[in-house]
């Protein structure tokens, strides 16, 4: 009877254990931050997987949307809950931060979703590699416009998010960032799973196969493309917001095309269109980056080399186009959602 709820139980236990370990400070800050970045990377790769894998477009400006989310949520958080040089005293009582924090992150996601329109609207007519250029251009446009907004620090960046976190920890002492990163990661993967198996998801798959044929079979391609792009960039915005609050500092330079490349690598390493592949490769990639940290600059020679070698032996990525439950069909007994 309980077997169908195994996944939920495992997730709750895992979240509980990590929170407890962080609360008792049994694992170091370094390990903790690696775990949190892992969560952010999972959100980043799964959300890009929706566009690049499931819909078959080639979007290479994902970091731009993260940038929008990061800036909107950190500006909003600092504006509402903390004293700042630019915005002056907080608009709301800092005690409320504990309740409004997830809303602030989601607001960043919504803003990023609207930034996604920058790509979604041209995608009605522009296809394939031409759309890829539009995504790169969108990434540059977003970063460049934030660099030119001197009010919020321009290219020097923006900070003060740690105060919001501290305000939250003053009320109830819990590792809030760990909890929220975990919750948002699980929520993202769940939402994407539900989305790809819904009617919209079938439309997305149809667009991936053949856009013209899908249109003829009465799939409203424009609507589905708009929603998919907005969902993907909105989730990227959430990843960006969490990223900003984890570091406590955000600057446009950290969301450049190299960050987008990282997201691309994670998607194609996992296998196009495979949600569990995207999660696995995000975990692997984060661990790999940290393991090779002692190599310093050579790290960025070794990692691409490893990836190229992997591509030679397994050109379809780790999972290919399959999910974990396709490879191990017995896993299907342990969850009930489609």
């Amino acid at each position: 009877m309980f077997r169908k709820y195994t996944v939920q139980l495992i997730l709750v236990t895992l979240g509980g254990i990590i929170t407890y370990l962080a609360y008792e400070e049994l694992i170091g800050l370094y390990t903790l931050s690696v775990l949190m970045f892992m969560g952010v990377n999972i959100i980043m790769s799964t959300s890009l997987n929706l566009v690049n894998g499931n819909m078959g477009e080639f979007s290479c400006g994902h970091a731009g949307f993260m940038c929008v989310g990061a800036y909107v949520s950190s500006l909003l958080g600092v504006l509402l809950f903390s004293k700042d040089k630019i915005f002056g005293p907080p608009l709301l009582n800092p005690d409320l931060a504990i309740y409004f924090f997830p809303l602030v992150i989601i607001a960043g996601g919504i803003a990023a979703a609207f930034a996604g329109l920058l790509v979604a609207l041209p995608s009605y007519k522009t296809r394939g590699d031409y759309l890829a250029i539009i995504t790169i251009a969108a990434n540059y446009i977003i970063i460049s416009s934030i660099e030119n907004l001197n009010v919020i620090g321009g290219s020097r960046g923006f900070m003060g998010m740690k105060k919001v976190i501290n305000a939250m920890e003053d009320i109830i002492y819990l590792p809030w960032m760990v909890i929220w990163v975990f919750v948002f990661t699980v929520a993202t993967v769940w939402a994407l799973r539900r989305y790809t198996s819904s009617t919209f998801g079938k439309g997305v798959a149809a667009i991936c196969q053949d856009e013209v044929a899908a249109e003829i079979m009465s799939v409203n391609t424009n609507k589905i493309k708009t929603i998919t792009f907005m969902l993907s960039s909105g989730l990227a915005g959430i990843a960006g917001g969490l990223f900003a609050y984890i570091i406590g500092y955000v600057n446009p330079g950290s969301f450049n095309i190299l960050k987008s490349t990282e997201a691309l690598v994670m998607v194609y390493l996992g296998g196009m269109g495979s949600l569990s592949g995207a999660v696995l490769s995000a975990i692997l990639f984060t661990v790999l980056l940290e393991l090779l940290r002692p190599l310093q600059i050579i790290k960025w020679v070794v990692i691409p080399l490893l990836l190229i070698v992997l591509m030679q032996f397994r050109p379809e990525g780790i999972m290919g186009n399959r999910e974990l439950s396709d490879i191990f069909p017995r896993l299907k007994r342990f969850y009930k959602f489609k």
């Binding site: 522009t126 540059y140 460049s144 960025w300």
Partner: protein, 303 residues
């Protein structure tokens, strides 16, 4: 006013020449393989470094005068850079193509190759910038308030000459005919007795060779070399190639000059930090209005 305008046009032509030369390489490879060779910008960077080593070697070891050194540097650099491009194709892209991997996995491999070139350079040569030796003395001419140097004129003419040569190769020679045939139908071409692999190698050699030429010219005009110089200019040249209509030589050439002109004009009238913002917005608008670029042909899709 007129003098400033002409001055800006000359600057735009020079700046656009670099984009055009790099975009030519992108578009040739794309035209044949429909592969976005993201390592191309870094091949340009490698070309500049090769030119630096060759020129320094000739100047200091052999003690030859500047113009002979230049005459030796250009062909040597072009050959060595082509070798780099071709070896990338042999080592990384061809095995994937043989296995029938999805096109985008090859693109990711290209991105990785670019990263390797950048960071291997950084690891081997260090982060210190290299100063390119002056090969020819720069003469400054002033005609009616318009200032230009012999180098600027040489850059512009080299770009135009390269375009003419490449256009001739693609449209008039047998190799070019084979290239166009491959981009038209990949499966029928081998049946006609055309060696696909050799044609692809020639395409990579030509594209990388002209990226090497762009590297020499860039290093002579802005004599400071650093490992990341190819990344941004490569991405921008790719965008220029697409705006022109990727796969078309004329499109890449025009797109390069268009991007150069837009950037120079933005810098002339606005603060220079707005350059990327306005330039990319213009390109985004162009691509929204003409979804297949300036020279691109809208293909009818069959189901």
């Amino acid at each position: 006013m007129l003098a400033t305008t002409i001055q800006n046009i000359i600057n735009a032509l020079q700046w656009g020449s670099f984009y055009a030369l790099i975009a030519l390489g992108y578009t040739m490879v794309y035209g044949v393989l429909t592969l976005i060779n993201f390592a191309h910008g870094d091949i340009f960077m490698v070309g500049a470094y090769i030119a630096f080593f060759v020129a320094t070697f000739i100047l200091s070891m052999l003690g030859l005068p500047g113009w002979i050194a230049l005459a030796l540097t250009i062909p040597l650099t072009m050959i060595l850079t082509s070798a780099v491009g071709v070896s990338l194709e042999r080592v990384a892209y061809r095995p994937l193509r043989r296995k029938g991997a999805h096109r985008l996995y090859v693109v990711i491999t290209a991105l990785m190759c670019g990263l390797i070139l950048e960071h291997a350079n950084l690891a081997l040569l260090g982060a210190s910038r290299k100063a390119f030796p002056a090969l020819i003395t720069e003469h400054v001419y002033t005609i009616g308030g318009v200032t230009f140097t012999n180098l600027k004129v040489a850059v512009i003419f080299t770009a135009i000459l390269s375009f003419v040569i490449l256009h001739w190769i693609v449209t008039k020679t047998k190799v070019g005919m084979a290239m166009r045939a491959i981009s038209y139908d990949k499966f029928a071409v081998p049946l006609m007795g055309i060696p696909i692999d050799s044609i692809i190698v020639i395409t990579f050699a030509l594209g990388s060779g002209f990226a090497g030429l762009a590297g020499i010219l860039f290093a002579m005009s802005y004599p400071v070399l650093e490992p990341y110089m190819g990344a941004l200019i490569g991405w921008k040249a790719f965008i220029a190639a697409v705006v022109g209509g990727i796969g078309d030589i004329r499109g890449a050439f025009l797109g390069g000059f268009l991007l150069g002109a837009v950037e120079i004009m933005v810098v002339a009238f606005f603060p220079s930090t707005y350059r990327d913002l306005i330039a990319f917005t213009v390109l985004l608008v162009i691509l929204s209005l003409k979804p297949t670029g300036l020279f691109g042909i809208a293909k009818t899709t069959k189901i």
